[in-house]
Symmetry: C2
Subunit: 431 residues, 2 copies
């Protein structure tokens, strides 16, 4: 399913790099230290952190990172939904931006999001130490509530930043603990005055851990991220006839558990037929009453279907709908479906993807083009400027878990590529 | 799957019936009134009752039924595990016994168990009103904790009655609410002195609602129960690799939810291949963490497999074990199984089955031989004397639910057949 990386070799030559960029290197140890320092804020057993968006813990993380931004002489702006942008005001024109998020899920790791923000600081510090003045300003952002773990939607801050959600609606959002986002922003002191939508960067590039197993398993060091998979989520409720498991002949059953199971098997077969980047998951099954000797009255299952190709994703949805109609009839059950989320695939900018790929190869790293299976802030920024992402390997693909890990070497590699890419993008003229 | 009843017509002539038995009839209205009266003890919304074994509610039900036994002049004995036997001491030799249970599940109906006990009282009262003196004593029993809803095993009282579980072990049993059975017996005043195992009746016959949909669906009034299905229960735990539903390619997954679903589909296919009286149910599925966008780390499912034929049941178990080994390898998961219950099928006595069948036909009722899919006290009594059961239809097969219903006509029919069968059995000489 994953093609070997050399099939993806790009023959696009990298854009001219400003001297002395080829020799410039980040300080991986310093970056790791900042990652560890940030992880000490609201630590959880096993080594991760728990900093849900706009909680006191998130505020403490924000304060720490804003402090680092100021130490580097960045101009720090806070916008009306709490997005923070630190800008090194050098050169002219619209900045090259990097960044990600520092909020976490309840059981967050050390790297998800944090890496993209702190690598941005490391890139600027490395340029400064090398007395390199880029032709454009360099900005590092962290966006509010990327995880969506305290309030919906995920990628909340970057969505508002690019104008995809109105400020009014965003501020009126209510968290899972019943608070209003506007009040929480004020409470933690991140109700800034910079308006949204924010300025459009000249380009955006985000370094992130893969959060999947592909790079590690195929032994490739760098992912040149081509876009983000489209997502189709639905909840399927199957109502049948609850019966005694002993006294009801098979021919008289209308068994929602069997239908739920058949649907899960159908999704697996569909993903095999489609192959490519098609993934399907049934991660949640609830049976009622969920007893060993009772044919359930009801089953509720969720279907998570993703593809990088919108046409294939729509076709998968259509085939699933057909299957549901068919099995509803054959099993004598009633099935209702409820859409939970639907996002079309996002394609990143070919020039920025090629740049990442060619820099990685120049630096002697193995690199592979790949889609992202998870959502990221870069997919929102892609609406307003040429954007792409750099992935580094996640050990065992584990994420959203204290066991999330990426080696210092991989983090350093990824950050060096971010540095070189930003050096290059900062020299790019406006079209 | 269910053969038409005329294929089952028995050419065995009924045993000689004592005059004036052919004309004797029960009073269906009186029986229905007792059923309704018993149902007023710990009633629940929808019309059923909640009388878990050896609770205050069960004690109140016991007191009511014991009062009725005494009104009929029965000698009431209470044994060391609370089984109650009311005996009409007429004739000589060991009694013909009928009975069932009056404990219920938490959401019990009006008929499950109660019918078999109160029909026994109605049979005796009808004989008495007709001045009929049977040649053997007639006994009506209710056994402790048939349901197993408050403590294990089910059919607890009848199992101890026939010596299948020691009194010591029985008394030391702890309920789901942490009480000891011996203490609960004493608390509710049903710690009797009659020893267990109890006397072996000359025969045992139990009237019960079907608790399944077969009789109603095929339009047959009486089931001549041939035995009780063997039961194989196991819990299957599947451990895989929890992963992000977006970032993990299908080829790299070790998905316990998919394995659980495949197992449920395999069980359905197995029951279709075996056909006959093979039933298979996956009624309980628990996924961990059970989230839409996470390939689960673990799934726990239960398998309920039943057959009337021990050899086929063992073959089903063996095929399931083979399938588990195969899918464990192909999906790269770890599967462990835990046996939860295993009972061999029980065969009732051919003479008593034939007797039920022929009486039903003589009375102009449609009748069908059928196995019981649920466990009943009669299967325990079958260890010590010729035993069988009479089934009457359950509307929609619903049981263990306040909506449990059987028509007055069907109840009256079944009780008349019980009466005639007991009249006949009471005239049977010892071999």
């Amino acid at each position: 399913m994953i093609q070997p990386f050399w099939l993806y070799i790009s023959y696009t030559f990298p854009m001219a790099l400003a001297s002395p960029a080829p020799l410039m290197r980040v300080n991986g140890e310093r970056l790791m230290q900042r990652l560890m320092d940030l992880a000490t804020i609201s630590p959880i057993p096993g080594g991760g952190s728990s900093r849900l968006a706009l909680t006191d813990e998130d505020a403490a993380g924000r304060d720490l990172v804003v402090g680092w931004m100021k130490e580097l002489g960045l101009e720090v702006t806070i916008d009306v939904v709490g997005n923070v942008v630190g800008t090194w005001n050098v050169g002219h024109g619209s900045p090259v931006m990097t960044g990600s998020h520092i909020d976490t899920v309840r059981t967050g790791g050390k790297y998800d999001g944090n890496l993209g923000v702190l690598a941005g600081l490391e890139v600027i510090q490395s340029m400064q130490e090398n007395n390199h003045q880029p032709s454009r300003p360099i900005a590092v952002a962290f966006f509010t509530n990327e995880e969506g773990a305290r309030f919906a939607p995920d990628m909340f801050g970057s969505l508002v930043y690019v104008g995809g959600l109105s400020v009014e609606e965003a501020l009126d959002t209510v968290t899972i603990d019943g608070a209003r986002v506007a009040d929480e922003l004020e409470r933690v002191g991140y109700n800034g005055s910079t308006p949204c939508p924010g300025f459009a960067p000249s380009s955006f590039i985000e370094l992130h851990i893969e959060q999947g197993p592909v790079l590690e398993q195929v032994g490739v060091q760098i992912g040149a991220v081509t876009g983000v998979q489209g997502i189709s989520w639905q909840e399927v409720t199957i109502e049948g006839q609850s019966n005694h498991a002993g006294t009801t002949p098979m021919s008289m059953r209308h068994d929602p558990a069997f239908v739920a199971a058949s649907l899960a098997v159908f999704l697996r077969q569909l993903s095999q037929r489609f192959s490519g980047h098609q993934v399907c998951t049934v991660g949640k099954i609830d049976l009622f009453p969920n007893l060993i000797n009772v044919v359930p009255a009801k089953a509720v299952v969720t279907l998570d279907v993703r593809n990088t190709d919108e046409q294939l994703l729509a076709q998968a949805e259509s085939e699933i709908a057909d299957y549901i109609k068919k099995i509803e009839l054959s099993e004598g059950v009633t099935i209702t479906t409820r859409p939970l989320a639907r996002f079309e695939p996002v394609e990143f900018d070919e020039d920025v993807i090629s740049l990442v790929e060619s820099i990685a190869m120049e630096h002697g790293h193995t690199v592979q083009r790949m889609p992202s299976g998870a959502g990221h802030d870069a997919q929102m920024l892609a609406r307003v400027c040429p954007s792409a992402m750099i992935f580094v390997p996640s050990v065992l693909g584990i994420s959203h878990n204290p066991a999330e890990h990426t080696s210092t070497q991989d983090i350093t590699n990824g950050t060096n590529i971010l540095l070189q890419a930003m050096l290059s993008l900062a020299e790019k003229k406006d079209n």
